[in-house]
């Protein structure tokens, strides 16, 4: 509807553009760089990024809590973690600058983004935990049926 102001800065105001076209091309270059980095990492797959940064903690309750809080660094290959973070960065700039979420009212922004993020995280958590459980059952196969 009505013309509201476009904000012309990205990276929390560190990079300012003069016109909206310039901002679009700036975001395009940024997204291209991220994609190139992803593809290069995907082809090279550096050995050092193929094993998790830290191994899981053993012991009591505190070790379990540490394993949960540090799970991205304990149970994931750093390369996959990098890919997922870069994907979310790309998604942010597509939504914020190409879809003009940056210029929408805060209420609309939260209605769309928080709803989606909450439901997606919940679903992914449940399904991945269940998938891992079934993997363990298949691997150890001491339960044949009732799992």
């Amino acid at each position: 509807m009505g013309h509201h102001e476009h904000s012309l800065a990205i990276f929390r105001g560190r990079l300012k553009f003069k016109t909206i076209e310039q901002k679009i091309w700036g975001v395009f270059i940024f997204l291209s760089i991220i994609t190139i980095v992803e593809v290069v990492f995907g082809i090279i797959k550096p050995e050092s990024l193929m094993v998790p940064f830290i191994s899981s903690f053993e012991g009591g309750f505190m070790a379990t809590m540490a394993n949960i809080f540090l799970s991205p660094f304990i149970f994931m290959k750093p390369l996959n973690l990098i890919f997922i973070v870069l994907t979310i960065v790309k998604a942010y700039y597509i939504t914020w600058d190409f879809m003009h979420m940056r210029d929408e009212k805060k209420a609309l922004r939260r209605m769309v983004v928080w709803t989606a993020i909450f439901l997606i995280c919940y679903l992914v958590l449940i399904l991945l935990v269940e998938g891992d459980y079934i993997f363990e059952v298949y691997k150890n196969n001491y339960i044949k049926f009732d799992f």
């Binding site: 509201h4 395009f28 994609t35 879809m99 609309l108 992914v124 399904l127 991945l128 998938g131």
Partner: protein
């Protein structure tokens, strides 16, 4: 209650329907709601993919070994290059779309038309690329043998590079009789015919001492397990059931059939979105050309279809990561 309600504006202004609490028009807000629901649909698919992958995490195909082709580069392994190209095409078509929206805000009819046209071209290239990617995946690469348990055995030479079944199978007079329409009342189609049957592949495998079998299972370094020559011979004799070439919804020469199922379903659903996006863009393009939005004095329709188009790009970013990278 009345004391807690702010009474700075007359009630009619707020609830009469004329006002926009979110400063977005009805159409734009509904497009956002549609996008949220569609995002949840795609997340459901990708989460289901993650579920199945976690179930078989030690036997899942490695995307780098599946998508290695590039048009006109026959026999040159180019993992990831084509899908990177597709990603660029889609991001670039998002850029032309957002430039069209911006030109619309400035009421520049011919610029909107030009950028919409470029967006349509980008979308068409993407859909075409996806069709090519499907065709390559369905056709297959080296071929494999499926075991009685439904697992995939692939063939390597002693240097560790893949060998196509066609290069060692020994053609024989086929003893199998194909079931045909003429001798069946309920003809539902025979089994899919592969270029070589299991007997021919097994005979060729036994005759070539430098061939080994690779199983689906990944070792602790994430590479598929390679069997010794003795174990390979025992495996193909004892467990081999049929030859698989390419991928379809039932069998997949690259590994787990679920990988192919999810690939077809998710990229197919996404491709369908791109296709619909191109169609909607064409309609809006013609509306721009005939001046509908000039007369309406608002190019908001371009903005709404733009939101949908960017969403399609957004989904691709995630499909790219979870199918090709992770």
């Amino acid at each position: 209650m009345e004391t807690t309600v702010a009474t700075t504006t007359p009630e009619g202004d707020v609830w009469g329907g004329g006002n926009q609490p979110l400063r977005a028009s009805y159409g734009k807000m509904m497009m956002w709601f549609f996008i949220v629901s569609d995002a949840l649909t795609f997340s459901g698919f990708l989460a289901a993919y993650g579920f199945s992958r976690f179930k078989f995490v030690n036997a899942w195909p490695i995307a780098d070994e599946v998508f290695t082709h590039f048009p006109f580069l026959h026999g040159v392994p180019a993992p990831m290059f084509y899908v990177a190209f597709m990603t660029f095409v889609l991001i670039f078509s998002s850029v032309t779309m957002v430039l069209a929206v911006d030109a619309g805000h400035k009421m520049q009819q011919s610029k909107v038309a030009m950028y919409m046209f470029l967006t349509i071209i980008g979308g068409a290239i993407f859909v075409g690329s996806q069709a090519w990617e499907w065709a390559t995946f369905i056709k297959g690469d080296y071929g494999a043998v499926e075991t009685r348990g439904g697992k995939i055995l692939q063939f390597l030479d002693t240097e560790g590079s893949r060998v196509a079944i066609g290069s060692f199978a020994q053609p024989m007079q086929s003893t199998a009789i194909e079931h045909q329409e003429s001798n069946g009342v309920w003809f539902m189609g025979g089994n899919e015919q592969t270029s070589y049957n299991l007997e021919e592949v097994t005979a060729g495998f036994l005759a070539n001492d430098n061939l080994l079998i690779r199983t689906q299972y990944l070792d602790e370094n994430g590479h598929p397990t390679v069997l010794s020559r003795e174990a390979s011979i025992a495996k193909i004799k004892k467990d081999g059931k049929l030859v698989v070439e390419g991928a379809n919804l039932k069998r997949n020469e690259y590994g787990h059939p679920l990988f192919a199922d999810f690939f077809f379903f998710i990229t197919g659903f996404h491709g369908f979105h791109v296709f619909s996006g191109v169609m909607i863009n064409i309609i809006i393009f013609f509306n721009v050309v005939i001046g509908t939005y000039e007369r309406r004095k608002s190019y908001e329709m371009v903005e709404k279809v733009g939101l949908y188009w960017h969403f399609v790009d957004l989904v691709w970013v995630f499909v790219f990561t979870f199918f090709y990278l992770v």
